[in-house]
Symmetry: C2
Subunit: 351 residues, 2 copies
């Protein structure tokens, strides 16, 4: 199977995105959901901004304050033995076995637009910025499903209450209507199928079962896109060397003659992220027809291997024209890249 990476890669880097907040730097412009709108390619960039710190031994955590509608910057001394600063993304309490207390950056969604799919212009303002108590640590990893002329955008909302998935809808990529939190904490990587199947909406989701140490993909149904149930287990982590840590949905499922094609991510326990593929029954997507036993894409290029968090390819959206999939994917938790793949060649790889 051949992957044609764009020669312009990376397409968008943090240097292309001016920060919205004073005294902040953009450290990530990545993991974008994708849409086609009025002949343009829209990337729903996750922009991560970090407070500048000129003082040694000080780590800062930005927290959105709903009342003041601005960021509170909380400062920690790296000499404070109550906390653990090893992971550059988080501030943990040493007494907590897992999880985190604060994030070191705040993410929100900002639009990049392109007429040719290769060269992007970035909006001056945020498109989806924290607006409620579930988003005080930020908004991450938007995914976009077009149903008719409506674009349903779901994303990860992070706050001290937990990690939930929230849904908004837009018709114009200017204004949004908020539809609520659609999956309870902790859950990520929700992918809504682009049409009803036997009168039900379907979505992939990745709940965390900490009690059983599982980060697997599940599938659920809905009558209205807001309420989800009938949860079934779908894709498990393997003992293999690319997906033994976690798996999660990637692109909005693609309808093919042979079934629903889902391109998803698998990560090792060391957080190396690759992409795999699975084929689901057209009439009942909770049934697996075929699955790739190896990843279809692994970090190879320098922009995929090196960055804020290296060794990551993380597809969140694509555009399909006949047999050709243009996939946009986050690289190294830092930037955005693009590639072309023949869908027929992906299907040939599945058992």
């Amino acid at each position: 199977m051949k992957i044609y990476r764009f020669k312009e890669n990376p397409l968008i880097t943090p240097l292309d995105v001016p920060p919205l907040h004073k005294n902040h730097e953009v450290i990530g412009a990545f993991n974008a959901g994708v849409a086609e709108y009025k002949g343009e390619t829209i990337l729903l960039l996750r922009v991560a901004e970090r407070p500048l710190s000129n003082v040694e031994n000080i780590v800062k955590a930005p927290v959105y304050n709903i009342k003041s509608q601005s960021l509170d910057i909380i400062e920690f001394s790296t000499l404070d033995t109550e906390y653990d600063f090893k992971d550059p993304r988080t501030i943990k309490k040493r007494s907590d076995l897992i999880g985190f207390e604060y994030l070191t950056s705040l993410s929100y969604i900002r639009i990049a637009r392109s007429k040719d799919g290769h060269n992007f212009e970035i909006d001056d303002e945020a498109f989806i910025y924290p607006f409620n108590e579930y988003q005080t640590f930020g908004i991450e990893d938007a995914r976009c499903t077009q149903i008719g002329d409506e674009y349903y955008i779901n994303f990860t909302s992070v706050s001290p209450k937990g990690i939930v998935d929230s849904l908004v809808v837009t018709k114009d990529f200017e204004s949004i209507d908020y539809l609520g939190n659609i999956f309870a904490p902790d859950n990520k990587d929700i992918l809504i199928f682009p049409e009803k199947i036997n009168d039900k909406y379907y979505a992939l989701h990745r709940p965390e079962s900490s009690n059983l140490n599982k980060r697997d993909v599940w599938i659920a149904t809905s009558p209205d896109l807001i309420s989800w149930g009938n949860h079934k287990h779908l894709i498990k982590t393997s003992e293999g060397d690319w997906d033994n840590g976690r798996v999660g949905g990637g692109l909005v499922p693609i309808k093919t003659d042979k079934g629903w094609l889902e391109i998803y991510h698998g990560a090792t326990k060391d957080n190396r992220y690759c992409m795999g593929a699975i084929l689901l029954d057209l009439e009942d997507p909770s049934k697996v027809i075929a699955k790739s036993d190896k990843p279809i894409m692994v970090p190879e290029e320098s922009y995929e291997k090196e960055g804020f968090f290296g060794e990551v390819v993380f597809g969140c959206g694509g555009i399909v024209k006949g047999d050709e999939l243009t996939m946009y994917y986050g690289v190294a938790d830092t930037s955005m890249a693009g590639c072309r793949i023949k869908i027929s060649e992906i299907l040939e790889q599945l058992d």
Copy 2:
């Protein structure tokens, strides 16, 4: 506020329940959902059976085998350094920071029936026994909501895939219809409100956010009792001395003139379980009107303080007659007890 504990307490103990499995002992008959049916009080007992072990240093884990429709008994040596056997309820991998690998008992739901609410007869057979891949470690803590002449029974399904909440419905407490998994892992303590409110069903639930170290109560809505969304945060753990570890719904919410009264449990980090109370808006139960700042009930009697896991009062259901609530509650993760409380006196305790 006065709590009139039944003089017959504990009402049902493991000694009253003959095991269904050969070479097993019943170690728990507790945490029962409650219903009134044809003039009888029905307790949906959680019966926990443990494989007998006569050999020192051997711990056994029962796992329901779907194919053979019988229990596989997996044996572990307590000398095996890969595992941790400190908690008598679970077998953990030492390499895992949290969670468990196996349970040391298998639970299922069995009915106890009473004409006077004090003296119970226990059915010879299971009422809800593991029947699918989500229940191979057992079925725990049923809750029952009557809507019209249908009784909706939800319970915790435990398997290596995670801890999900499942729903069945019955009209006769003989046969059940399975309606699916209604909350994704890990989630427990789901309480369905007994009527639609502004054309929506409501439920309390207790998802786990391990990333943020939260075990709080949330509220969700549904059009059909199967699909749930619009998740909102409702009751948080406090810094106090009775509910700093976790909180979770207890009884099916009780409609009063002043609002929906929810009697819920709070536990310390050391797993001492008490009961608290909260009043929710009649028209929008996601709004909190009042809350008790102290527990309304704490473990006091010997049968509440001593047992398989002592210091636990854990209400799962009640019967309301005018101002009088008869609450049935699990004690010490072992047995069932009952008490009477005046609803007006609970309401007086709320701020």
